[in-house]
């Protein structure tokens, strides 16, 4: 019973999920939209509680057992509690019951710590910092990838060299045909390979979905039994 009910739910909703693709009638489309927006939103809201519970349990255990770098877990837990309080009671833009905006007397300076301000000034720059690391990682990865160790790697090196050179305005003005060759590399062999991958991925997705709907693939249930 522990397995049959989830399998039955998956079968019913899997079939229901495929039907709106073929039936454009409003009754079916509205029901589908209702499931996708309202019902899924409720499930996601519940899952958030599980996620927060996991964070608290994980870091509490780390502190309790004094594992390596356990002190940082305090930072995580305190940040979690503070941002939850500010978000829940301070409103998104300082419009909640908790005051999150202070105007300093005799100056025009306003100090804000509402959730939007915290997000824009802490989360966004931190995310941008991590993202900017990508440039350096790309350089080191390109250095490894472009070593001509075998025929395939040599072709890759040559193609990359042509595409990169063609992107330089000075080079493309001296060798105008290089741009056409670069364009050909991108639109013919590159696109052909991507489309081939696309077919495989689409069929793989369909087969996996079918296996899940029919209950053949049960790995997501925690096993095959």
């Amino acid at each position: 019973m522990k397995r049959r009910i989830p399998l039955l739910i998956v079968f019913v909703f899997g079939v229901l999920g495929a039907i709106p693709f073929l039936i454009p009638h409003r009754i079916i489309q509205d029901a589908d939209n209702e499931f996708r927006s309202s019902v899924l939103r409720i499930i996601v809201a519940f899952s958030l509680v599980l996620g927060v519970g996991s964070i608290i349990r994980h870091h509490y255990e780390k502190i309790r057992r004094k594992r390596e770098n356990w002190q940082y877990s305090y930072v995580t837990l305190i940040s979690l509690v503070i941002s939850a309080i500010i978000g829940l009671f301070g409103g998104i833009e300082a419009n909640g019951i908790l005051p999150t905006r202070f105007v300093f007397p005799f100056t025009n300076y306003t100090f804000r710590f509402d959730i939007q301000t915290l997000y824009t000034n802490i989360m966004v720059p931190l995310g941008a910092t991590m993202f900017s690391l990508l440039a350096f990682f790309m350089t080191s990865a390109a250095y490894r990838a472009f070593r001509a160790r075998n025929i395939e790697a040599t072709i890759l090196l040559f193609s990359a060299f042509v595409v990169m050179l063609a992107a330089v305005p000075l080079v493309s003005s001296i060798f105008p045909k290089l741009s056409f060759f670069s364009e050909w590399i991108l639109t013919v062999p590159n696109t052909a390979a991507k489309r081939g991958l696309g077919f495989g991925i689409a069929l793989g997705s369909m087969a996996t979905s079918l296996k899940i709907i029919l209950g053949i693939e049960r790995g997501w249930l925690g096993g095959t039994g």
Binding site: L22, L126, T129, I201, G204
Partner: protein
């Protein structure tokens, strides 16, 4: 100055929709080149005067009125407009919108899906009867055993990232299926497994998958609930956390299985710098070059979906895999045939016969 009106105005129910739309078409005005465009006017049944409902530029001869009431009859006129001059067409036929119960545009998809489902079910039946099904060697999956063994020998943990997408992504489900097989091996070898998650629902499923895998191999006591945990739903904060785990815990093997975005290279390059064996698998085409460059083995696209069948060697799953391969063969055949036909019809080759 007089301008010619558009002619032959026709109206009909917009096909394959949820209702509420009528399509109108007309023959262009003889003065199409000099006019500003066409104004579309509508008369609903019971009304006395035509109301303007839209305007489109010259050279265009169709319009969709998507503000109709199903079951109510409408009539249309189209006027050619040049500055303040208007030249009206004859009224169209009466038309009414309605919702359809089947999208005929997608009948080709339905036919192919039916063939594909038949192939999969047929090969599953063959597999059930005991027919031996050959599956080519996939290097990345063959290396799983070796990767787990290496971590065990070195006394180091294994890091498994089931992608950053949600559970409704097929790649995530494929990643979770592989996690089950990897967890069985870590349970057998008593190797530490670390599974950080970005999505709370994926975290819940991943936890159950690992727990069940430990139970299946008879080691429920070895399951550490703290080994599978939720980190954050912020993309780059998650990448930072995974990088931190790699540098602090120094795992011997890193698995990246699921859907990834720009953080793929940040994680894979950090893993490469720690000297870990790295096995990645994704259907995110844009991230594949990054994984191929930074990881030792990469499951490309559909290989990710084939992984659970390959690792478990279950006949039912292998049968489905075989059906998938035949589906691909049909697509290749159709592509070759249609390409050949298109070439032959455009070239004077057929004239030879």
């Amino acid at each position: 100055m007089a301008i010619s009106p558009p002619t032959y105005v026709r109206a009909w129910d917009n096909p394959n929709d949820a209702g509420g739309a009528i399509r109108i078409s007309w023959h262009l005005s003889a003065d199409d080149s000099i006019i500003d465009g066409y104004e579309i006017l509508r008369l609903a049944e019971g009304e006395k005067e035509y109301q303007p409902i839209g305007f489109i530029g010259k050279g265009r001869n169709c319009y969709t009125d998507d503000e109709t009431k199903d079951g109510l009859r409408y009539q249309y006129r189209v006027s050619a407009v040049k500055d303040t001059i208007r030249s009206y067409s004859e009224p169209s036929n009466f038309a009414q919108s309605s919702a359809q119960w089947f999208n005929t545009d997608r009948i080709n998809v339905l036919i192919f899906t039916a063939i594909f489902i038949f192939l999969i079910l047929w090969f599953i039946t063959q597999a059930k009867r005991g027919t031996r099904l050959f599956v080519r060697r996939i290097a990345g999956l063959a290396a799983v055993e070796e990767a787990v063994g290496r971590a065990t020998e070195m006394g180091k943990p294994i890091l498994y990232v089931p992608g950053l997408s949600t559970v409704d992504d097929v790649a995530t489900i494929a990643g979770l299926n592989i996690l089950g097989e990897v967890a069985k091996k870590t349970a057998q070898y008593d190797t530490k497994l670390i599974v950080p998650n970005r999505d709370p629902i994926v975290y819940t499923v991943a936890r159950e998958v690992v727990k069940e895998a430990y139970t299946q191999v008879g080691r429920p006591d070895a399951f550490n609930p703290d080994s599978v945990y939720f980190v954050t739903d912020s993309q780059f904060a998650f990448a930072a956390a995974v990088d931190g785990i790699m540098t602090r815990e120094n795992p011997a093997t890193n698995f990246f299985m699921g859907y990834f975005w720009a953080e793929s290279l940040i994680m894979a390059e950090t893993g490469a710098s720690t000297g870990a064996i790295q096995i990645a698998g994704t259907d995110a085409v844009m991230q594949l070059p990054f994984f191929i460059t930074a990881c030792d083995y990469t499951l490309i696209g559909e290989e990710l979906y084939a992984a659970s069948a390959y690792l478990s060697r279950e006949p039912l799953l292998l049968g489905a895999l075989k059906g998938q391969d035949f589906g691909k063969a049909i697509i290749i055949g159709v592509l070759l045939l249609t390409t050949l036909l298109a070439l032959l019809l455009n070239l004077p080759v057929l004239n030879l016969f």
